[in-house]
């Protein structure tokens, strides 16, 4: 949709929203990929494990910044007529209700992950890990949001970019599913099963 008659500031806002959204997608893809590398205990010469962990954390922070920019510029843009409510209540906007709603959900999942990471010392590793797994929901919801909310304005390159992101995460997830990196997982489970005397439901 071309807005030839729109004021410059509005165009800037509009392009920033879409740009920041694309950057967020790429960054989030990298973050998810690094998270999977982390669980695979990946390391190579010149690439220690703490590098994976550090990059994952730092890029996640940058992702949240770009995501914030994406959300703020989208809300204040007069063309979209989104109130702040749309940013927090999913499916409450008039503009592309469904696809935008998905974006709201994805953003809130990521915010939850961010907050629990900050509060990790208080909530304990088990709760933290469960919330962290929501990343596997946030990422695809974000991808679908991107394809659904922007299709009419997008050229082939965004579509190609999205495909590349999907390919990367898809490959990483499939690889991760096939590999168990915790050497104690099986014997620990076997012992637990042997000493579990709770009544069967």
């Amino acid at each position: 949709m071309v807005r030839a008659s729109a004021p410059l500031t509005d165009q800037v806002l509009w392009y920033t929203t879409r740009g920041a959204g694309a950057v967020s997608l790429v960054l989030l893809t990298a973050v998810v990929g690094l998270g999977i590398l982390s669980s695979l205990r990946f390391e190579a010469t010149g690439w220690p494990r703490f590098l994976t962990a550090g990059l994952h954390r730092n890029l996640a922070l940058v992702t949240l910044i770009f995501l914030g920019l994406h959300i703020v510029t989208a809300v204040v843009d007069p063309y979209t007529n989104l109130g702040w409510a749309a940013a927090v209540i999913p499916f409450s906007s008039y503009y592309r209700t469904f696809w935008l709603g998905l974006g709201t959900i994805a953003a809130e999942l990521l915010a939850a992950i961010g907050i629990t990471t900050l509060a990790r010392g208080y909530i304990g590793p088990r709760t933290w890990k469960i919330v962290h797994w929501l990343a596997y929901a946030a990422w695809p919801i974000g991808v679908i949001h991107g394809l659904g909310t922007g299709t009419d304005a997008w050229s082939a390159w965004f579509f190609a970019l999205t495909c590349a992101c999907i390919a990367l995460v898809g490959f990483a997830v499939v690889y991760r599913l096939g590999v168990s990196r915790d050497p104690l997982a099986d014997p620990r489970a076997a012992f637990r099963a042997a000493v579990d005397r709770r009544p069967r439901p």
Binding site: P48, F50, R120, G121
Partner: protein, 73 residues
């Protein structure tokens, strides 16, 4: 003067990710199976920042800084 800090480890949480050994080789080395062996005793002041890094970096929160006499290995 405050009591010296000690590095404590929860052996059940520890899964052998070994980031601590990467970030704190002065105090942590790995056994033959990739699990950390921590040097006993109080932490030297010049290493406190690195110890804090290692504690934060542990993916399963197995490490903790304790201000007590309880030793850990």
């Amino acid at each position: 003067m405050s009591a010296k800090a000690q590095l404590a480890i929860d052996r059940i949480r520890c899964d052998g990710h070994a980031l601590c050994a990467e970030l704190l080789p002065e105090l942590v080395r790995l056994d033959d199976w990739g699990y950390p062996i921590i040097a006993p005793g109080p932490i030297p002041d010049h290493l406190l920042a690195h110890v804090q890094n290692a504690v934060t970096a542990c993916p399963v929160l197995a490490l903790a800084l304790k201000r007590a006499e309880k030793p850990a290995r």
